[in-house]
Symmetry: C2
Subunit: 306 residues, 2 copies
Protein backbone atom coordinates (compact mmCIF):
# COMPACT_ATOMS: atom_id res chain seq x y z
CA UNK A 1 0.00 0.00 0.00
CA UNK A 2 1.39 3.38 -1.01
CA UNK A 3 1.17 6.54 1.05
CA UNK A 4 1.24 10.17 -0.03
CA UNK A 5 1.87 13.06 2.32
CA UNK A 6 0.98 16.56 1.15
CA UNK A 7 2.32 19.26 3.43
CA UNK A 8 5.04 21.72 4.19
CA UNK A 9 8.78 21.17 3.96
CA UNK A 10 10.29 23.93 6.01
CA UNK A 11 13.23 25.45 7.80
CA UNK A 12 12.58 25.64 11.54
CA UNK A 13 14.30 27.86 14.06
CA UNK A 14 13.36 26.55 17.47
CA UNK A 15 14.11 27.60 21.02
CA UNK A 16 13.16 25.40 23.93
CA UNK A 17 14.36 25.41 27.53
CA UNK A 18 16.62 22.54 26.44
CA UNK A 19 18.39 24.38 23.62
CA UNK A 20 18.12 25.90 20.18
CA UNK A 21 18.16 24.84 16.53
CA UNK A 22 18.67 27.14 13.52
CA UNK A 23 17.04 26.53 10.15
CA UNK A 24 16.73 22.84 10.87
CA UNK A 25 14.73 20.56 8.60
CA UNK A 26 11.10 20.94 9.55
CA UNK A 27 7.59 21.10 8.19
CA UNK A 28 4.57 18.83 8.50
CA UNK A 29 5.48 16.65 5.50
CA UNK A 30 9.03 16.07 6.74
CA UNK A 31 7.92 14.91 10.19
CA UNK A 32 5.00 12.87 8.90
CA UNK A 33 7.03 11.15 6.20
CA UNK A 34 9.95 10.32 8.49
CA UNK A 35 7.38 8.58 10.67
CA UNK A 36 5.25 6.80 8.06
CA UNK A 37 8.23 5.46 6.11
CA UNK A 38 8.93 3.07 8.99
CA UNK A 39 5.71 1.28 8.09
CA UNK A 40 4.89 1.86 4.40
CA UNK A 41 6.35 3.22 1.15
CA UNK A 42 5.97 7.00 1.44
CA UNK A 43 6.04 9.87 -1.05
CA UNK A 44 5.84 13.55 -0.24
CA UNK A 45 4.41 16.44 -2.21
CA UNK A 46 5.65 19.91 -1.36
CA UNK A 47 7.61 22.97 -2.42
CA UNK A 48 10.87 24.47 -1.25
CA UNK A 49 13.05 27.36 -2.35
CA UNK A 50 16.52 27.43 -3.84
CA UNK A 51 17.90 27.95 -0.31
CA UNK A 52 16.76 24.51 0.78
CA UNK A 53 19.91 22.56 1.74
CA UNK A 54 20.66 19.55 -0.42
CA UNK A 55 21.62 17.64 2.69
CA UNK A 56 18.01 17.84 3.86
CA UNK A 57 16.80 16.33 0.61
CA UNK A 58 19.45 13.67 1.06
CA UNK A 59 18.24 12.98 4.59
CA UNK A 60 14.66 12.44 3.43
CA UNK A 61 15.73 10.39 0.42
CA UNK A 62 18.16 8.38 2.52
CA UNK A 63 15.30 7.49 4.86
CA UNK A 64 13.55 5.83 1.94
CA UNK A 65 11.10 8.64 1.19
CA UNK A 66 10.11 9.30 -2.43
CA UNK A 67 11.07 12.98 -2.89
CA UNK A 68 10.19 13.23 -6.59
CA UNK A 69 7.20 15.38 -5.60
CA UNK A 70 9.38 17.87 -3.76
CA UNK A 71 9.46 20.81 -6.14
CA UNK A 72 12.10 23.55 -5.97
CA UNK A 73 10.83 26.98 -6.98
CA UNK A 74 13.51 28.84 -8.98
CA UNK A 75 14.50 32.01 -7.14
CA UNK A 76 12.19 31.13 -4.28
CA UNK A 77 12.86 30.88 -0.58
CA UNK A 78 11.77 28.02 1.66
CA UNK A 79 9.03 28.44 4.26
CA UNK A 80 10.73 29.46 7.50
CA UNK A 81 9.16 29.22 10.94
CA UNK A 82 10.71 30.38 14.20
CA UNK A 83 9.21 29.69 17.57
CA UNK A 84 10.00 29.66 21.25
CA UNK A 85 8.51 27.17 23.68
CA UNK A 86 7.32 28.08 27.14
CA UNK A 87 9.10 26.49 30.09
CA UNK A 88 6.46 23.75 30.46
CA UNK A 89 6.68 22.96 26.70
CA UNK A 90 2.89 22.92 26.39
CA UNK A 91 2.69 26.29 24.66
CA UNK A 92 4.87 28.20 22.26
CA UNK A 93 5.15 31.65 20.77
CA UNK A 94 5.65 32.05 17.05
CA UNK A 95 8.49 34.53 16.58
CA UNK A 96 8.52 34.54 12.79
CA UNK A 97 6.57 33.06 9.91
CA UNK A 98 8.09 33.60 6.46
CA UNK A 99 5.61 31.89 4.17
CA UNK A 100 7.81 32.39 1.08
CA UNK A 101 7.17 29.73 -1.61
CA UNK A 102 4.24 28.26 0.32
CA UNK A 103 2.31 31.46 -0.39
CA UNK A 104 2.84 31.42 -4.11
CA UNK A 105 3.10 27.81 -5.20
CA UNK A 106 0.65 24.99 -4.74
CA UNK A 107 1.83 21.87 -6.51
CA UNK A 108 -0.64 19.72 -8.42
CA UNK A 109 -0.47 16.02 -7.65
CA UNK A 110 1.83 14.40 -10.25
CA UNK A 111 0.22 11.59 -12.22
CA UNK A 112 2.26 8.78 -10.60
CA UNK A 113 1.07 9.80 -7.11
CA UNK A 114 -2.65 10.21 -7.92
CA UNK A 115 -3.31 6.55 -7.30
CA UNK A 116 -1.76 6.52 -3.79
CA UNK A 117 -3.77 4.35 -1.41
CA UNK A 118 -3.38 6.41 1.77
CA UNK A 119 -3.35 10.20 1.81
CA UNK A 120 -2.39 12.66 4.54
CA UNK A 121 -3.52 16.20 3.91
CA UNK A 122 -1.37 18.00 6.44
CA UNK A 123 -2.38 21.42 7.67
CA UNK A 124 -2.83 24.08 5.01
CA UNK A 125 -5.80 26.09 3.74
CA UNK A 126 -8.85 23.79 3.48
CA UNK A 127 -9.47 25.00 -0.08
CA UNK A 128 -6.02 23.75 -1.08
CA UNK A 129 -6.59 20.49 0.78
CA UNK A 130 -9.87 20.00 -1.11
CA UNK A 131 -8.16 20.82 -4.40
CA UNK A 132 -5.48 18.20 -3.75
CA UNK A 133 -8.15 15.68 -2.81
CA UNK A 134 -10.01 16.35 -6.07
CA UNK A 135 -6.88 15.45 -8.04
CA UNK A 136 -6.60 12.01 -6.45
CA UNK A 137 -8.16 8.82 -7.69
CA UNK A 138 -10.10 7.07 -4.95
CA UNK A 139 -7.63 6.73 -2.04
CA UNK A 140 -8.60 4.05 0.46
CA UNK A 141 -8.21 6.39 3.40
CA UNK A 142 -7.86 10.18 3.68
CA UNK A 143 -6.49 11.74 6.87
CA UNK A 144 -6.72 15.52 7.22
CA UNK A 145 -5.38 18.01 9.74
CA UNK A 146 -6.22 21.70 10.15
CA UNK A 147 -5.40 24.61 12.47
CA UNK A 148 -7.01 27.53 14.30
CA UNK A 149 -6.18 30.01 11.51
CA UNK A 150 -8.48 28.22 9.06
CA UNK A 151 -11.20 27.74 11.65
CA UNK A 152 -11.16 31.50 12.21
CA UNK A 153 -10.96 32.53 8.56
CA UNK A 154 -12.45 29.68 6.47
CA UNK A 155 -14.69 27.78 8.85
CA UNK A 156 -17.19 26.75 6.18
CA UNK A 157 -14.39 25.25 4.06
CA UNK A 158 -13.09 23.35 7.09
CA UNK A 159 -16.52 21.72 7.40
CA UNK A 160 -16.48 20.86 3.67
CA UNK A 161 -13.09 19.23 4.20
CA UNK A 162 -14.43 17.27 7.18
CA UNK A 163 -17.34 16.04 5.05
CA UNK A 164 -14.87 14.48 2.59
CA UNK A 165 -12.45 13.09 5.14
CA UNK A 166 -12.19 9.56 6.45
CA UNK A 167 -10.23 10.54 9.54
CA UNK A 168 -10.23 14.12 10.82
CA UNK A 169 -7.26 14.92 13.04
CA UNK A 170 -7.57 18.03 15.16
CA UNK A 171 -6.13 19.57 18.32
CA UNK A 172 -8.19 19.80 21.49
CA UNK A 173 -8.44 23.61 21.45
CA UNK A 174 -9.22 23.65 17.73
CA UNK A 175 -11.98 21.08 18.13
CA UNK A 176 -13.47 23.20 20.90
CA UNK A 177 -13.23 26.32 18.75
CA UNK A 178 -14.67 24.71 15.64
CA UNK A 179 -17.57 23.09 17.49
CA UNK A 180 -18.12 25.83 20.07
CA UNK A 181 -18.11 23.46 23.03
CA UNK A 182 -15.72 22.61 25.85
CA UNK A 183 -16.71 18.94 25.62
CA UNK A 184 -14.36 16.95 23.40
CA UNK A 185 -16.86 14.10 23.18
CA UNK A 186 -19.50 16.47 21.91
CA UNK A 187 -17.05 18.13 19.51
CA UNK A 188 -16.07 14.74 18.16
CA UNK A 189 -19.68 13.75 17.63
CA UNK A 190 -20.41 17.02 15.82
CA UNK A 191 -17.54 16.33 13.41
CA UNK A 192 -18.89 12.83 12.84
CA UNK A 193 -22.29 14.36 12.07
CA UNK A 194 -20.43 16.69 9.72
CA UNK A 195 -19.36 13.70 7.66
CA UNK A 196 -16.00 12.50 9.01
CA UNK A 197 -16.04 8.73 9.39
CA UNK A 198 -13.62 8.97 12.29
CA UNK A 199 -12.26 11.81 14.45
CA UNK A 200 -9.01 11.92 16.41
CA UNK A 201 -8.70 14.76 18.91
CA UNK A 202 -5.08 15.35 19.93
CA UNK A 203 -4.51 16.48 23.52
CA UNK A 204 -0.71 16.84 23.47
CA UNK A 205 0.85 15.44 26.63
CA UNK A 206 -2.58 14.11 27.62
CA UNK A 207 -2.89 11.75 24.67
CA UNK A 208 -5.84 11.58 22.32
CA UNK A 209 -9.46 10.66 21.93
CA UNK A 210 -10.67 8.72 18.87
CA UNK A 211 -14.34 8.52 17.98
CA UNK A 212 -16.55 6.89 15.40
CA UNK A 213 -20.34 6.71 15.50
CA UNK A 214 -20.03 3.36 17.27
CA UNK A 215 -16.76 3.53 19.21
CA UNK A 216 -14.77 5.70 21.58
CA UNK A 217 -11.09 5.12 22.30
CA UNK A 218 -8.92 7.08 24.68
CA UNK A 219 -5.14 6.80 24.77
CA UNK A 220 -2.60 8.56 26.97
CA UNK A 221 0.60 10.07 25.67
CA UNK A 222 3.68 8.05 26.52
CA UNK A 223 4.84 9.51 29.85
CA UNK A 224 8.22 11.17 29.37
CA UNK A 225 10.48 12.40 32.13
CA UNK A 226 12.22 14.84 29.81
CA UNK A 227 10.83 16.62 26.77
CA UNK A 228 13.43 18.25 24.57
CA UNK A 229 11.44 19.56 21.60
CA UNK A 230 7.75 18.85 20.89
CA UNK A 231 7.92 20.31 17.38
CA UNK A 232 6.47 17.87 14.88
CA UNK A 233 4.84 15.64 17.50
CA UNK A 234 1.41 15.99 15.92
CA UNK A 235 2.68 15.46 12.37
CA UNK A 236 4.87 12.48 13.23
CA UNK A 237 1.88 11.07 15.11
CA UNK A 238 -0.22 11.48 11.98
CA UNK A 239 2.41 9.91 9.76
CA UNK A 240 2.88 6.91 12.01
CA UNK A 241 -0.87 6.40 12.36
CA UNK A 242 -1.37 6.42 8.61
CA UNK A 243 1.71 4.33 7.92
CA UNK A 244 0.69 1.72 10.44
CA UNK A 245 -2.78 1.49 8.90
CA UNK A 246 -1.31 1.17 5.41
CA UNK A 247 0.52 -1.98 6.43
CA UNK A 248 -2.08 -3.40 8.82
CA UNK A 249 -4.19 -5.22 6.26
CA UNK A 250 -7.34 -4.02 8.05
CA UNK A 251 -9.24 -0.81 8.57
CA UNK A 252 -11.34 -2.16 11.42
CA UNK A 253 -11.33 -0.60 14.91
CA UNK A 254 -8.51 -2.77 16.35
CA UNK A 255 -6.18 -1.68 13.53
CA UNK A 256 -6.96 1.99 14.21
CA UNK A 257 -6.26 1.51 17.91
CA UNK A 258 -2.98 -0.25 17.29
CA UNK A 259 -2.11 2.54 14.86
CA UNK A 260 -2.76 5.09 17.63
CA UNK A 261 -0.48 3.13 19.96
CA UNK A 262 2.30 3.04 17.37
CA UNK A 263 1.80 6.74 16.66
CA UNK A 264 1.86 7.60 20.37
CA UNK A 265 5.10 5.71 20.83
CA UNK A 266 6.68 7.29 17.79
CA UNK A 267 5.65 10.84 18.70
CA UNK A 268 7.20 10.40 22.14
CA UNK A 269 10.58 9.52 20.59
CA UNK A 270 10.26 12.62 18.45
CA UNK A 271 10.00 14.81 21.54
CA UNK A 272 13.19 13.47 23.05
CA UNK A 273 15.53 15.24 20.64
CA UNK A 274 15.67 18.44 18.69
CA UNK A 275 14.13 18.50 15.23
CA UNK A 276 13.92 15.37 13.11
CA UNK A 277 17.11 13.82 14.47
CA UNK A 278 15.53 11.04 16.47
CA UNK A 279 13.00 10.16 13.75
CA UNK A 280 15.69 9.88 11.14
CA UNK A 281 17.39 7.00 12.94
CA UNK A 282 14.34 5.46 14.63
CA UNK A 283 13.55 1.81 13.97
CA UNK A 284 10.27 0.01 13.80
CA UNK A 285 11.46 -2.28 16.61
CA UNK A 286 11.90 0.69 18.93
CA UNK A 287 8.37 1.84 18.14
CA UNK A 288 7.00 -1.62 18.80
CA UNK A 289 8.84 -1.86 22.12
CA UNK A 290 7.52 1.47 23.36
CA UNK A 291 3.98 0.74 22.20
CA UNK A 292 4.19 -2.51 24.15
CA UNK A 293 5.40 -0.57 27.20
CA UNK A 294 2.43 1.77 26.77
CA UNK A 295 0.11 -1.23 26.68
CA UNK A 296 1.60 -2.41 29.96
CA UNK A 297 1.16 1.08 31.46
CA UNK A 298 -2.54 1.21 30.58
CA UNK A 299 -3.65 -2.33 31.29
CA UNK A 300 -6.06 -3.06 34.13
CA UNK A 301 -8.36 -5.87 35.18
CA UNK A 302 -12.10 -5.79 35.66
CA UNK A 303 -13.42 -4.33 38.88
CA UNK A 304 -16.40 -6.62 39.39
CA UNK A 305 -16.69 -8.78 42.51
CA UNK A 306 -14.08 -11.54 42.45
CA UNK B 1 -11.60 -4.12 56.52
CA UNK B 2 -12.61 -0.81 58.08
CA UNK B 3 -12.01 2.58 56.56
CA UNK B 4 -11.68 5.97 58.22
CA UNK B 5 -11.97 9.26 56.38
CA UNK B 6 -10.69 12.38 58.12
CA UNK B 7 -11.71 15.57 56.37
CA UNK B 8 -14.16 18.41 56.06
CA UNK B 9 -17.92 18.23 56.22
CA UNK B 10 -19.12 21.44 54.69
CA UNK B 11 -21.85 23.55 53.20
CA UNK B 12 -21.14 24.31 49.54
CA UNK B 13 -22.60 27.10 47.46
CA UNK B 14 -21.76 26.29 43.86
CA UNK B 15 -22.37 27.99 40.54
CA UNK B 16 -21.64 26.22 37.29
CA UNK B 17 -22.83 26.99 33.76
CA UNK B 18 -25.40 24.23 34.39
CA UNK B 19 -26.95 25.76 37.50
CA UNK B 20 -26.55 26.65 41.14
CA UNK B 21 -26.76 25.01 44.56
CA UNK B 22 -27.01 26.82 47.92
CA UNK B 23 -25.49 25.46 51.12
CA UNK B 24 -25.59 21.93 49.79
CA UNK B 25 -23.87 19.08 51.60
CA UNK B 26 -20.20 19.21 50.70
CA UNK B 27 -16.70 18.73 52.03
CA UNK B 28 -13.96 16.24 51.32
CA UNK B 29 -15.13 13.71 53.91
CA UNK B 30 -18.72 13.74 52.63
CA UNK B 31 -17.70 13.07 49.03
CA UNK B 32 -15.03 10.52 49.92
CA UNK B 33 -17.28 8.60 52.33
CA UNK B 34 -20.26 8.50 49.97
CA UNK B 35 -17.87 6.88 47.49
CA UNK B 36 -15.98 4.45 49.75
CA UNK B 37 -19.12 3.13 51.49
CA UNK B 38 -20.06 1.38 48.25
CA UNK B 39 -17.07 -0.89 48.81
CA UNK B 40 -16.20 -1.04 52.52
CA UNK B 41 -17.53 -0.06 55.97
CA UNK B 42 -16.73 3.63 56.29
CA UNK B 43 -16.50 6.01 59.24
CA UNK B 44 -15.88 9.76 59.06
CA UNK B 45 -14.16 12.08 61.47
CA UNK B 46 -14.96 15.79 61.25
CA UNK B 47 -16.61 18.80 62.82
CA UNK B 48 -19.68 20.84 61.91
CA UNK B 49 -21.54 23.71 63.54
CA UNK B 50 -24.97 23.90 65.04
CA UNK B 51 -26.28 25.17 61.68
CA UNK B 52 -25.50 21.84 60.00
CA UNK B 53 -28.84 20.46 58.78
CA UNK B 54 -29.93 17.22 60.41
CA UNK B 55 -31.09 15.98 57.01
CA UNK B 56 -27.45 15.98 55.86
CA UNK B 57 -26.46 13.81 58.81
CA UNK B 58 -29.40 11.58 57.96
CA UNK B 59 -28.24 11.38 54.35
CA UNK B 60 -24.74 10.24 55.37
CA UNK B 61 -26.07 7.86 58.00
CA UNK B 62 -28.70 6.50 55.62
CA UNK B 63 -25.92 5.72 53.13
CA UNK B 64 -24.40 3.40 55.72
CA UNK B 65 -21.64 5.75 56.89
CA UNK B 66 -20.62 5.69 60.57
CA UNK B 67 -21.14 9.32 61.63
CA UNK B 68 -20.30 8.86 65.32
CA UNK B 69 -17.05 10.77 64.65
CA UNK B 70 -18.93 13.79 63.28
CA UNK B 71 -18.71 16.28 66.12
CA UNK B 72 -21.05 19.27 66.45
CA UNK B 73 -19.40 22.32 68.01
CA UNK B 74 -21.88 24.09 70.31
CA UNK B 75 -22.51 27.61 69.07
CA UNK B 76 -20.26 26.97 66.06
CA UNK B 77 -20.95 27.43 62.36
CA UNK B 78 -20.17 24.88 59.68
CA UNK B 79 -17.37 25.42 57.16
CA UNK B 80 -18.91 27.18 54.15
CA UNK B 81 -17.36 27.34 50.71
CA UNK B 82 -18.74 29.21 47.72
CA UNK B 83 -17.29 28.92 44.25
CA UNK B 84 -18.06 29.60 40.63
CA UNK B 85 -16.82 27.38 37.79
CA UNK B 86 -15.53 28.75 34.52
CA UNK B 87 -17.46 27.88 31.36
CA UNK B 88 -15.14 24.97 30.53
CA UNK B 89 -15.46 23.57 34.10
CA UNK B 90 -11.70 23.08 34.35
CA UNK B 91 -11.14 26.04 36.62
CA UNK B 92 -13.12 27.74 39.33
CA UNK B 93 -13.04 30.92 41.38
CA UNK B 94 -13.51 30.74 45.12
CA UNK B 95 -16.04 33.41 46.03
CA UNK B 96 -16.13 32.80 49.76
CA UNK B 97 -14.37 30.63 52.35
CA UNK B 98 -15.85 30.76 55.84
CA UNK B 99 -13.60 28.42 57.80
CA UNK B 100 -15.74 28.64 60.94
CA UNK B 101 -15.41 25.52 63.15
CA UNK B 102 -12.65 24.07 60.97
CA UNK B 103 -10.39 26.86 62.17
CA UNK B 104 -10.96 26.26 65.86
CA UNK B 105 -11.62 22.56 66.31
CA UNK B 106 -9.50 19.61 65.37
CA UNK B 107 -11.03 16.38 66.61
CA UNK B 108 -8.83 13.68 68.09
CA UNK B 109 -9.39 10.21 66.72
CA UNK B 110 -11.88 8.45 69.02
CA UNK B 111 -10.62 5.20 70.46
CA UNK B 112 -12.94 2.93 68.44
CA UNK B 113 -11.61 4.40 65.17
CA UNK B 114 -7.88 4.24 66.00
CA UNK B 115 -7.64 0.70 64.74
CA UNK B 116 -9.14 1.43 61.30
CA UNK B 117 -7.37 -0.53 58.57
CA UNK B 118 -7.48 2.06 55.80
CA UNK B 119 -7.10 5.79 56.37
CA UNK B 120 -7.76 8.75 54.11
CA UNK B 121 -6.23 12.01 55.31
CA UNK B 122 -8.17 14.43 53.14
CA UNK B 123 -6.78 17.88 52.50
CA UNK B 124 -6.04 19.99 55.56
CA UNK B 125 -2.87 21.41 57.11
CA UNK B 126 -0.10 18.79 56.94
CA UNK B 127 0.62 19.29 60.66
CA UNK B 128 -2.95 18.30 61.46
CA UNK B 129 -2.74 15.34 59.09
CA UNK B 130 0.43 14.18 60.82
CA UNK B 131 -1.18 14.61 64.23
CA UNK B 132 -4.14 12.45 63.19
CA UNK B 133 -1.77 9.85 61.82
CA UNK B 134 0.13 9.76 65.12
CA UNK B 135 -3.08 8.87 66.92
CA UNK B 136 -3.72 5.81 64.78
CA UNK B 137 -2.54 2.29 65.49
CA UNK B 138 -0.83 0.81 62.47
CA UNK B 139 -3.25 1.25 59.55
CA UNK B 140 -2.59 -1.05 56.61
CA UNK B 141 -2.69 1.80 54.13
CA UNK B 142 -2.60 5.58 54.48
CA UNK B 143 -3.78 7.80 51.61
CA UNK B 144 -3.12 11.54 51.90
CA UNK B 145 -4.16 14.56 49.85
CA UNK B 146 -2.90 18.14 50.04
CA UNK B 147 -3.36 21.48 48.25
CA UNK B 148 -1.44 24.46 46.91
CA UNK B 149 -2.01 26.51 50.11
CA UNK B 150 0.07 24.09 52.21
CA UNK B 151 2.73 23.77 49.54
CA UNK B 152 3.10 27.54 49.61
CA UNK B 153 2.99 27.97 53.38
CA UNK B 154 4.17 24.67 54.95
CA UNK B 155 6.20 22.96 52.28
CA UNK B 156 8.54 21.21 54.68
CA UNK B 157 5.58 19.71 56.56
CA UNK B 158 4.10 18.50 53.27
CA UNK B 159 7.32 16.56 52.67
CA UNK B 160 7.15 15.10 56.19
CA UNK B 161 3.61 13.97 55.43
CA UNK B 162 4.76 12.40 52.16
CA UNK B 163 7.48 10.52 54.02
CA UNK B 164 4.84 8.83 56.19
CA UNK B 165 2.29 8.18 53.48
CA UNK B 166 1.65 4.95 51.61
CA UNK B 167 -0.16 6.66 48.75
CA UNK B 168 0.25 10.38 48.09
CA UNK B 169 -2.60 11.87 46.05
CA UNK B 170 -1.93 15.25 44.48
CA UNK B 171 -3.16 17.45 41.65
CA UNK B 172 -1.09 17.98 38.55
CA UNK B 173 -0.40 21.67 39.22
CA UNK B 174 0.34 21.00 42.89
CA UNK B 175 2.80 18.25 42.03
CA UNK B 176 4.54 20.63 39.62
CA UNK B 177 4.64 23.35 42.28
CA UNK B 178 5.86 21.08 45.05
CA UNK B 179 8.58 19.49 42.94
CA UNK B 180 9.46 22.54 40.84
CA UNK B 181 9.21 20.70 37.52
CA UNK B 182 6.77 20.63 34.63
CA UNK B 183 7.34 16.88 34.22
CA UNK B 184 4.78 14.82 36.09
CA UNK B 185 6.93 11.71 35.82
CA UNK B 186 9.82 13.54 37.44
CA UNK B 187 7.54 15.04 40.11
CA UNK B 188 6.17 11.59 40.90
CA UNK B 189 9.66 10.15 41.22
CA UNK B 190 10.73 12.95 43.54
CA UNK B 191 7.79 12.19 45.83
CA UNK B 192 8.73 8.51 45.79
CA UNK B 193 12.26 9.49 46.76
CA UNK B 194 10.65 11.58 49.49
CA UNK B 195 9.24 8.44 51.02
CA UNK B 196 5.79 7.86 49.54
CA UNK B 197 5.40 4.22 48.50
CA UNK B 198 3.04 5.22 45.71
CA UNK B 199 2.03 8.51 44.08
CA UNK B 200 -1.17 9.30 42.22
CA UNK B 201 -1.15 12.54 40.24
CA UNK B 202 -4.67 13.68 39.37
CA UNK B 203 -5.09 15.44 36.02
CA UNK B 204 -8.81 16.22 36.18
CA UNK B 205 -10.48 15.56 32.84
CA UNK B 206 -7.22 14.02 31.60
CA UNK B 207 -7.22 11.20 34.12
CA UNK B 208 -4.31 10.33 36.35
CA UNK B 209 -0.81 8.94 36.56
CA UNK B 210 0.15 6.40 39.25
CA UNK B 211 3.78 5.65 40.04
CA UNK B 212 5.77 3.37 42.28
CA UNK B 213 9.50 2.78 42.11
CA UNK B 214 8.84 -0.17 39.82
CA UNK B 215 5.63 0.68 37.97
CA UNK B 216 3.92 3.43 36.02
CA UNK B 217 0.20 3.38 35.24
CA UNK B 218 -1.71 5.96 33.25
CA UNK B 219 -5.50 6.11 33.15
CA UNK B 220 -7.80 8.49 31.31
CA UNK B 221 -10.83 10.10 32.86
CA UNK B 222 -14.11 8.60 31.73
CA UNK B 223 -15.07 10.72 28.69
CA UNK B 224 -18.25 12.64 29.47
CA UNK B 225 -20.34 14.56 26.98
CA UNK B 226 -21.83 16.76 29.70
CA UNK B 227 -20.27 17.83 32.99
CA UNK B 228 -22.71 19.36 35.46
CA UNK B 229 -20.58 19.92 38.58
CA UNK B 230 -17.01 18.69 39.12
CA UNK B 231 -17.05 19.56 42.85
CA UNK B 232 -15.91 16.59 44.89
CA UNK B 233 -14.54 14.67 41.90
CA UNK B 234 -11.09 14.35 43.51
CA UNK B 235 -12.42 13.38 46.92
CA UNK B 236 -14.93 10.86 45.59
CA UNK B 237 -12.10 9.46 43.47
CA UNK B 238 -9.98 9.10 46.61
CA UNK B 239 -12.79 7.47 48.56
CA UNK B 240 -13.59 4.96 45.86
CA UNK B 241 -9.91 4.12 45.37
CA UNK B 242 -9.42 3.43 49.07
CA UNK B 243 -12.74 1.61 49.44
CA UNK B 244 -11.99 -0.62 46.51
CA UNK B 245 -8.57 -1.49 47.94
CA UNK B 246 -10.10 -2.23 51.35
CA UNK B 247 -12.29 -4.94 49.85
CA UNK B 248 -9.83 -6.20 47.22
CA UNK B 249 -7.95 -8.64 49.41
CA UNK B 250 -4.67 -7.53 47.81
CA UNK B 251 -2.41 -4.51 47.81
CA UNK B 252 -0.47 -5.59 44.72
CA UNK B 253 -0.27 -3.47 41.57
CA UNK B 254 -3.31 -5.04 39.82
CA UNK B 255 -5.52 -4.19 42.81
CA UNK B 256 -4.34 -0.58 42.75
CA UNK B 257 -5.03 -0.35 39.01
CA UNK B 258 -8.52 -1.81 39.37
CA UNK B 259 -9.08 0.62 42.24
CA UNK B 260 -8.14 3.50 39.94
CA UNK B 261 -10.60 2.23 37.33
CA UNK B 262 -13.38 2.02 39.90
CA UNK B 263 -12.48 5.47 41.21
CA UNK B 264 -12.42 6.93 37.70
CA UNK B 265 -15.84 5.52 36.96
CA UNK B 266 -17.26 6.72 40.24
CA UNK B 267 -15.84 10.25 39.92
CA UNK B 268 -17.41 10.55 36.48
CA UNK B 269 -20.86 9.83 37.89
CA UNK B 270 -20.22 12.46 40.54
CA UNK B 271 -19.68 15.09 37.83
CA UNK B 272 -23.00 14.40 36.14
CA UNK B 273 -25.17 15.99 38.85
CA UNK B 274 -24.95 18.82 41.32
CA UNK B 275 -23.44 18.11 44.73
CA UNK B 276 -23.60 14.65 46.27
CA UNK B 277 -26.95 13.72 44.72
CA UNK B 278 -25.66 11.17 42.28
CA UNK B 279 -23.25 9.56 44.76
CA UNK B 280 -26.00 9.15 47.33
CA UNK B 281 -27.98 6.83 45.09
CA UNK B 282 -25.12 5.27 43.11
CA UNK B 283 -24.77 1.48 43.14
CA UNK B 284 -21.70 -0.67 42.98
CA UNK B 285 -23.12 -2.32 39.85
CA UNK B 286 -23.19 1.05 38.06
CA UNK B 287 -19.55 1.64 38.99
CA UNK B 288 -18.57 -1.80 37.75
CA UNK B 289 -20.40 -1.25 34.46
CA UNK B 290 -18.70 2.06 33.79
CA UNK B 291 -15.27 0.75 34.77
CA UNK B 292 -15.83 -2.07 32.30
CA UNK B 293 -16.78 0.48 29.63
CA UNK B 294 -13.57 2.36 30.42
CA UNK B 295 -11.62 -0.84 29.98
CA UNK B 296 -13.18 -1.31 26.57
CA UNK B 297 -12.33 2.31 25.66
CA UNK B 298 -8.66 1.89 26.50
CA UNK B 299 -7.95 -1.60 25.21
CA UNK B 300 -5.62 -2.09 22.28
CA UNK B 301 -3.64 -4.92 20.74
CA UNK B 302 0.09 -5.18 20.24
CA UNK B 303 1.60 -3.34 17.30
CA UNK B 304 4.29 -5.86 16.39
CA UNK B 305 4.39 -7.43 12.93
CA UNK B 306 1.47 -9.87 12.56
Amino acid sequence: MSLLIVGSVALDTIETPAGRADRALGGSASYAALASRLFAPTAILGVVGEDFPLEYVALLHGAGIDTAGLETVPGGKTFHWAGRYHPNMNARDTLLTEINVLGTHHPAVPEPLRGSDFLFLANTSPELQLQTLSEMRRPRLVLADTMNLWIETQREAVWRLIAQTDVMLINESEAQMLCDTASLVRAGRLMLEGGAKRVIIKKGEHGCLMLTRETLFTAPAFPLETVCDPTGAGDSFAGAYLGFLAQAGSLEEPAHRAAIAAATALASYNCEEFGVGRLARLTREEVTARAEALREMTRFDGVGPA
